[in-house]
Symmetry: C2
Subunit: 342 residues, 2 copies
């Protein structure tokens, strides 16, 4: 079948991005350091400085359910997930533009709360909303944020991992997805029983501080944030770096409540942790022998940093090691279109 008769739902997100990149062609401007395909775009500023641009869209019913999240929390979340992309590159956030499509029946009080939430999360990381636009829509609400960041130091990309590098993750894993499953299953009642998990889903904390500390060192060889799930985001790094990876199941910093959640609901912790996504933690590779320096950075940023595996040659593939056994890890995390999970 040619593209003539196919729909976008028949392509993986990676295939769609590759197709789009080929239409755009190789950048002609020399000032474009990183174009389509990483967490943010990067262009040359004056001197050593670099400017970073990213956008992330939240669509009602796809990314959020207005009956399950308050407008203020939604505002905080929209800002946080965009900030996470800047954290993944090691940049300092600066400005945001907010594009909103709203039904004209949308309550004014909710609009005010939504902005208050974005401002709140923005202020926490010194980001100012400087523009945007409002549009009406006949259907689902859309929130699209554009963020601008800068750095005069190192930037992290997905493509620098080398065989022998250690693989690290910040914070804990699985909490956000368990929270989402709880909301799906129990609706607003989940906020009582699974309050902490729900909060981890709805209000991720972008790892700006630890990222900026890491950018001051030469430890990190590649980085991304865990938005689509460990399996998918690790695949992004391995694919961009042309390497494989071994992940040690026993080392994964699974949130305690995720185990409790499994006990209570029967949810599969393995799927939650590997494929769940939306933890917005940083996943990165580091030169061998960086453990001590990373422990110090973890202490200063007050965020755990855990070694979870090692980069191996590409032909060894991406594998999950559990005791004596090992099994392939496939990118089964979040994908926007139907074909994403194959």
């Amino acid at each position: 079948m040619t593209s003539e008769s196919k729909t976008v739902g028949q392509y993986t997100e990676k295939e769609l991005i590759e197709r789009i990149a080929s239409i755009i062609g190789k950048p002609k401007r020399r000032d474009i350091l990183i174009g389509i395909g990483d967490d943010t775009a990067v262009v040359k500023g004056s001197g050593d400085s670099k400017l970073l641009y990213t956008s992330d869209m939240l669509v009602e019913e796809i990314h959020f359910d207005r009956s399950l999240i308050s407008p203020r929390t939604l505002g905080r979340r929209a800002m946080a997930v965009n900030l996470s992309d800047l954290a993944a590159m090691g940049a300092e956030p600066q400005y945001a533009l907010v594009s909103l499509a709203l039904q004209s029946s949308y309550p004014m009080a909710e609009l005010e709360e939504l902005y208050a939430g974005m401002v709140e999360m923005g202020n926490r990381f010194k980001v100012t909303i400087i523009g945007g636009n409002l549009s009406s829509t006949g259907s689902q609400m859309v929130i699209d944020l554009f963020l601008v960041g800068c750095t005069s130091g190192r930037i992290f990309t997905r493509s620098g991992a080398k065989v022998g590098d250690d693989i690290y993750v910040t914070g804990t894993l699985g909490g956000a997805h368990a929270g989402w499953l709880a909301l799906e299953a129990y609706g607003n009642r989940a906020e009582k029983t699974y309050a902490e998990l729900v909060k981890m889903h709805q209000e991720p904390i972008p790892r700006i501080k630890v990222s900026r500390l890491l950018a001051d060192t030469d430890i990190v060889t590649s980085m991304t944030d865990i938005s689509d799930g460990l399996s998918t985001d690790l695949t992004h790094i391995c694919s961009a770096s042309h390497v494989g990876a071994n992940i040690l199941w026993s080392q994964l910093p699974i949130h305690d409540l995720v185990h409790d959640f499994e006990n209570m609901t029967g949810a599969d912790t393995r799927l939650v942790v590997l494929d769940g996504g939306e933890d917005y933690e940083l996943l990165f590779t580091a030169r061998p022998g960086s453990a001590k320096a990373l422990a110090e950075i973890a202490r200063r940023a007050r965020v755990p940093i855990t070694a979870i595996g090692r980069i191996v040659p590409r032909n060894s593939g991406i594998r999950l090691v559990e005791g004596e056994k090992s099994s392939p890890i496939e990118a089964k995390g979040w994908s926007h279109f139907g074909a994403g999970n194959r």
Copy 2:
């Protein structure tokens, strides 16, 4: 009634923007030269340079009808209307990010054409697409573009018009709205009978060249682009500059085909020209005595520049002068929400 029980549809766009600006508060960062409320945001770059950021969202069924516009033309249009915002500020366009929400049933071939159209219009003005994101949606398609521009020279704002300044407009007026009315009334058949008008609506040409030439002079005192309609966009300038305006009906550069369109369809040329919008021409004020210099710029840019009136004191209001008569001009152009037309 307090905002507690009101919907966004009960506010004008201006009121919504003012409310949002008050939630965001005064920018704390000194590097923000222009925040919310003009055609683009402007921040300080290094040295004399300034960086400009703007975004504009097109929502299916609100801004376009997929049965009446080809995906390639839609791509060109999406890029052009964003470029027009940079033209209105006098900036040089540099980069674009594209956020798309699509149903998974959207044909891949149309996605390719949509990008090809954006790339085509971008190349014409040396803009490269460097990023963005794709999302699925259960309903209407959304295209949100974020543009980055720069300048080391003058920037134009809406707020510098002075009493006695002349008011100018580039190109012609009314063609785009007449084209839209033709499409509304006759669907695809309009493309035959009213081909030129339809093209003016679907494929506006951003006035980057004339804007950059004007930025090299000290002639211009305020500027915006005509996106919402002459009446609304002139009101934006007058309101930001605390002045009034007299517009001479006999001087307006109404496109010839608009008169023909009136003869054939009975459409009210006055409404089309004053309130229609989407011409994406530049509307600006200039120091008295600039006519000769402007004629030279018009010649170099190959775009007509026409004097259409004069800035007067605020208490004289904004008026349309027709021979001996004059009548108030009210902002009756495009507004996204219901209350816009009051």
